[in-house]
Symmetry: C2
Subunit: 452 residues, 2 copies
Amino acid sequence: MDEVKVIFEPQKVVLIGSSKIREKVGMTSPRLFKSVIYNMKKFFHGKTYVLDVDGKAGYDKLSKLPKIPELAVIMLPPKHSVEQAEKCAKISVKALVMITGGYGDERRQQLLKIKEEYDIKILGPNTIMGVINTANGLNTTFERNVMPKKGNIAVISQSGGVGACLLDWACFYDVGISKFAFVGDKIDVDDVALLRYYGNDRNTRVICLYMEGIKNGRKFVEEARKIVKKKPILALKGGITQESAKRARSHTASIAGSDEIFDAAFKKARIIRVIDIEELMNAAVALSKQPPMRGDNIAIVSNVGGPAILAADAVARNNLNLASLSEKTKRKIESSYPGVNATNPIDMIADARAERYSKVLQLVLADKNVDGVLIINMLKSCFFEPEDAEVIPKIAAKYPEKPVVDVPAGGEDFALVYNVLGNTNIPLYDLPGKAVKALKVLRAYGKIIEKH
Amino acid sequence: MDEVKVIFEPQKVVLIGSSKIREKVGMTSPRLFKSVIYNMKKFFHGKTYVLDVDGKAGYDKLSKLPKIPELAVIMLPPKHSVEQAEKCAKISVKALVMITGGYGDERRQQLLKIKEEYDIKILGPNTIMGVINTANGLNTTFERNVMPKKGNIAVISQSGGVGACLLDWACFYDVGISKFAFVGDKIDVDDVALLRYYGNDRNTRVICLYMEGIKNGRKFVEEARKIVKKKPILALKGGITQESAKRARSHTASIAGSDEIFDAAFKKARIIRVIDIEELMNAAVALSKQPPMRGDNIAIVSNVGGPAILAADAVARNNLNLASLSEKTKRKIESSYPGVNATNPIDMIADARAERYSKVLQLVLADKNVDGVLIINMLKSCFFEPEDAEVIPKIAAKYPEKPVVDVPAGGEDFALVYNVLGNTNIPLYDLPGKAVKALKVLRAYGKIIEKH
């Protein structure tokens, strides 16, 4: 059995906290405890028990629970947390999610001893937000009513703050999530175990990592190399300079190592590295919706000239190529639409509507010189209407081996087209440069797969 | 008198279009004409006359207008546009905004002849959207009811599409605008004339350019060098590769020149170059609200560890320094907040609220080793409430020589804090890396000013 499965797929969960204790600095707080209870009762499909060590809410003792839960979520100060962890272990709870931080060496040792003596799995301590599984509604975060929509992107975050930011981003921008793990200090369950679980999870198509340090680098690389044959792994590494790496060490007790070592490890593991949170999310969305790109040649199909030129610039900056369309493709486009110059990037002119997008996209995708397509459909200064975008996924679906991404550039324009295409398999970006970066990641994964 | 003033500050404007003609490919359209009329009647403080060459809406002849307008906005096919331009010139209209494109050489020559014979100013042709002046409500765009809020950022866009995208971005993200000019083919009014006008405009504090080519490079550089002593100029250049430059040539009839030449010209002109639309807007907001930065040393003040580490990474990537706080500053912070490690980036821990932000920000700004401050205040996973952010502009105002930018990282978190700080002089960014880039631009402008 998968060793961390029980953390994500329990039938019964006990939440252990306090309706009284409020840490001066830390996450033990009656209010946060209430929020976790709220989230679990609202979202979790299984059974949730509440154990209040101060006896006000729910049960006051483990022994009083009607059944033995497989998972305990503990949010108490370190001393109390360790006591509760041992009690859980004794009644054969299978796994613990330890929310709070601030553990000294002694408490950490006590936890490790419990883990070894009882063979109990421990996520944390210092996970801050714990875990989310959108498949069964498990949500141990204390962000009241915050639940991402179901999807196929799984996240592992070593930092509570970065994880929270990714979670906030996913919810706000409607990014579909399968699983979320806030790993914190990783005294037991680590990236390797989580990667293996996500690797086998059929709800997960893309894995995102935020990491500051790693303990067992060789195993991590080995595991990742196996997984990327089936699904891509993206990594954002925090602490690239000596100064910030030092900070990361005190932040999550990481052995950070130099950035060069990480970079080499990611390359060896065939993990795709990104440099910020938005890139991570944008790349994940592309990989979760579109096929890897089999070559470097991008066609740009636009209803405006300037943004198409900026897209072409971004193609060059990202070391991709502007596809040279075949003469046949060009001739067909230009004869159908007098006034349109079909040299890539193709400016179909401001009056292009669904029919022209449909025909040109079809011709471009059919061209063997094209490996992927970036569409720009602005509304402002153009005749395009949001519903016109409906043709894009339809035509793209005929060429399942070639990625298509769409750029309704700007603010409101993006929001309007998102309403139409947000739930389709066409990834949307608000600026051409972001879409090109997403295609670059699809190309990177294409190369990774070719190697196998 | 400023030669292009009349384009932005007319008392009376005539809109010349058709309620019948619809170009197959082009911007002449009864619907768009109606939208311009709508915008002018709704927003413009002066007098708007409508001249419909098909005689259905408003006046049917120039001679019937009760008074002579200073400005005519013409949106008809090239042949008709040129005819109307000449009629306007004959009755002493001072300036023309030529919306539509598709001019051949002959029409272009005719326009130039009119300009020379009558000494009339011409913006365009092919401006697509014309001009906006938020001070007097002038808005010749055909985007119905789209008007940015008043502010001190002025824009010149050579591309209708990029300009429309910038306009959409400004409206959606609530960026304050003073003037907007879509310059199109620049047969008369060019960047130099507009720069000079913006340079003297007291409502404008920052100038943004999108350009694909330039005709009089030497004059442009000279003019810009004069203006940047008073206000910064930002430039986004489209067409960086040979391929895309060729495209730009056909797009806006630009003599594009190699990217290296532009880069050298921008450096000589002391124009700050950015590489995409979001960077342009983010940098403009920073420059419009905060002072230039006098040194490279950034302090990071955060309530979360991971995002602070990512901010520190971005500081290094952007060739800025993490400030070394004085021992005195550190001691004061650490003695006030046990558990907080005051090494920069400062992680004030998740329970930091207004009082802690206020005190630490004050101490950090007072430290002579600090030239600028990046604040991170996440809500998710933290105790911070949006109203806590109110202390930030208050403390920042005490140190008017040191820039402060704020990062409520993520999606909803950003929106919630934006509600509180959006109208203050603190620029807000949704990710640490974007805020660091903004500080980098403030530093760049600091260096430009030092040179003078």
